[in-house]
């Protein structure tokens, strides 16, 4: 008889709970959650991590991560994270925020958290639209992109231009690691995970503010099927929101 030897190659990260999510079919939040969960497992920090959920589609993220979690007011997660990290420097503190949360209503909080070099990690989901409220224009909605509050397409003469948060925050001395990645295919998802790992390592080494922006899809509000959405992201978002590292402090390079 031949002995069967099997190797476990894939399982749910311990940092995620065993529940179904409420996310729409085709949404990339699930991918982003999984990457964060895998990184927390690999760093073996689940037991000393506190997450902060935003207001938006991922408002219920606290049900999906098996780590202690608080729910912030819209946009205020970086302020809550600041308080937690200042009083508990031994904990791993991360926020998970969407584009409306981070780049519109919470612009002040994210800029100052980065400016102070708060030793926290921010996972920034940019899908160029307000998902939970039903598809309104976001600060990252592209020029001419149709949404329920820009039905004729975003007219930059009225609504101004989409904000590039990585580029903006990378100018701040307190930012140690700022990277934009995409979740539209496997190759990019693997790169995204590497960036998330670097971000958490940056925090654990006490090097300052770290943020990974993840270009994401919203099939429901983009009114596209999941595959079309991934292609639309690739063809439209990446040209305006280029991928890569925007800030890598010298000490981060040595991690």
């Amino acid at each position: 008889m031949t002995e069967v030897t099997e190797e476990l190659v894939y399982q749910r990260p311990e940092s995620l709970t065993q529940v179904h999510t409420h996310y729409c079919p085709g949404c990339t939040h699930g991918t982003a959650h999984r990457l964060v969960g895998e990184v927390l497992d690999e760093l073996n920090v689940r037991g000393r991590t506190i997450g902060i959920a935003p207001v938006g589609c991922s408002v219920l993220a606290y049900y999906y991560f098996d780590v202690d979690f608080a729910e912030a007011a819209h946009g205020r997660a970086p302020a809550m994270a600041t308080g937690m990290k200042r009083t508990h420097p031994d904990k791993v503190i991360f926020t998970y925020q969407g584009d409306g949360d981070l780049a519109a209503i919470g612009t002040g909080e994210i800029v100052h958290a980065a400016g102070r070099g708060e030793n926290i990690t921010v996972i920034f989901i940019n899908n160029a639209i307000y998902g939970m409220t039903g598809g309104q224009m976001a600060p990252t909605t592209l020029e001419d992109q149709k949404t329920s509050s820009s039905p004729l397409g975003r007219d930059v003469s009225i609504a101004g231009y989409p904000l590039r948060m990585c580029e903006l925050l990378a100018t701040l001395d307190g930012a140690a690691y700022i990277s934009r990645q995409s979740l539209h295919d496997v190759r990019h998802i693997r790169r995204a995970k590497k960036a998330i790992l670097t971000a958490f390592k940056t925090q654990m080494a006490g090097l300052g503010f770290s943020m990974v922006e993840l270009l994401s899809t919203c099939s429901t509000n983009w009114k596209m099927d999941p595959v079309e959405s991934l292609e639309w992201l690739r063809d439209n978002m990446i040209p305006y929101f280029p991928l890569g590292d925007f800030k890598v402090a010298e000490a981060v390079k040595e991690l």
């Binding site: 506190i50 729910e71 007011a73 308080g83 937690m84 200042r86 508990h88 002040g108 100052h112």
Partner: protein, 354 residues
């Protein structure tokens, strides 16, 4: 400890330090700023957390974050800053985490001015954010009383897992008076069983104010209301001055309570039996005690540095048929004892005429 001369804002800050506050977050605003300035050095020297936030909005959310981890935390501000904090206060109340807030009121509305005012009585007792919740609100009349209330506020915040507001007008924040500091407490290392400290060896804890099911949100609201009821039963505080035999009972809080005392003494010298009932807890309002006292008095004169806000609570306490008069100044004007005495004398003349 000996009695020392303390500036109000600095005394309140030192009282918080002695109560074991672990972290302070705030934003400069007159007439509260000395509290922040004092802690910017004191906390750092003690190895505790001090951070000047980019706004009151950020400050209250930093406080919220720390409160979720179960350690003592506070902020302070003045009227327009409290308006900005209302969002966070509502979330904090719904999340049932303990927070202490010091509000040194200034003239309003709008940017108003930096003179002392009591125009935010409604704000702190009624409208401290959206939704059904009532913070515990304590109003000192002296620097010493402010010290004692801040010192105790942290215990109350933890006991009820609620927001405790110590509210004073700018006069109390700015003036210097003798005060004796309470002893320095050790910082508690106890971790409450709800605190977010990392899920080591257990499943995760969640602190949220989101309850999508109407029934679950109602359950939270019922719990908050039960807490309000416990606060009403246990935390009523008030002081009286020559009230036992007063025909004319003045009701005023904070600085107005002190001015009313002087006016009462002036009236007594003229043979007018005046006294003072000074609510210390604005919420819970000492309704029952005031109602009892009103039976023996013949008229009530409410005195406030506002258009008459606490006046509504007094009327609710004594009923619509009780003769309640009002004297107040607005815009940061502090009434002189003479003015209040004149109001007492006028009521006395009407009573003699009746």
């Amino acid at each position: 400890m000996a009695r020392e001369l303390w500036k109000g804002n600095e005394a309140l800050a030192e009282a918080a330090v002695r109560a074991g506050v672990v972290a302070y977050f705030g934003y400069p605003i007159t007439p509260q700023t000395e509290l922040l300035e004092y802690l910017s050095l004191r906390m750092v020297r003690l190895g505790r957390t001090f951070l000047q936030a980019e706004s009151e909005l950020a400050a209250i959310n930093m406080v919220y974050g720390v409160a979720c981890t179960g350690v003592r935390v506070m902020t302070s501000s003045s009227s327009p800053g409290i308006s900005l904090m209302q969002e966070g206060l509502s979330y904090i109340a719904a999340s049932e985490v303990p927070v202490v807030l010091v509000d040194i009121m200034r003239g309003g509305p709008g940017l108003g001015n930096i003179q002392p005012s009591q125009g935010d009585y409604f704000q702190v007792t009624r409208s401290c954010g959206h939704g059904d919740f009532r913070p515990l609100v304590l109003a000192p009349a002296t620097v010493q009383e402010g010290v004692d209330l801040v010192y105790e506020a942290f215990d109350l915040a933890e006991k009820y897992r609620t927001v405790v507001i110590v509210v004073a007008d700018g006069n109390i924040g700015q003036m210097m008076e003798p005060a004796e500091m309470p002893p320095m407490r050790d910082i508690s290392t106890e971790q409450p069983d709800w605190a977010l400290v990392g899920a080591d060896g257990r499943s995760h804890r969640i602190i949220t104010s989101l309850f999508l099911s109407a029934e679950k949100l109602e359950t939270l609201n019922l719990r908050l209301q039960a807490k309000v009821q416990r606060v009403r039963e246990n935390e009523v505080r008030y002081r009286e001055h020559r009230a036992e035999d007063a025909d004319i009972l003045m009701v005023g809080f904070g600085t107005m309570g002190r001015i009313a005392q002087t006016a009462a003494d002036m009236a007594r010298q003229k043979g007018i039996r005046a006294g003072v009932f000074r609510p210390v807890s604005l919420f819970p309002f000492p309704s029952a005690a005031l109602e009892t006292r009103s039976h023996q008095a013949r008229r009530i004169l409410v005195v406030e540095m506002s258009a008459g806000q606490m006046l509504e609570d007094v009327r609710l306490a004594v009923g619509k048929d009780y003769p309640v008069e009002f004297y107040g100044r607005m815009g940061g004007v502090i009434p002189l004892p003479d003015e209040v005495f004149d109001a007492v004398e006028k009521i006395h003349a009407e009573m003699c005429h009746d």
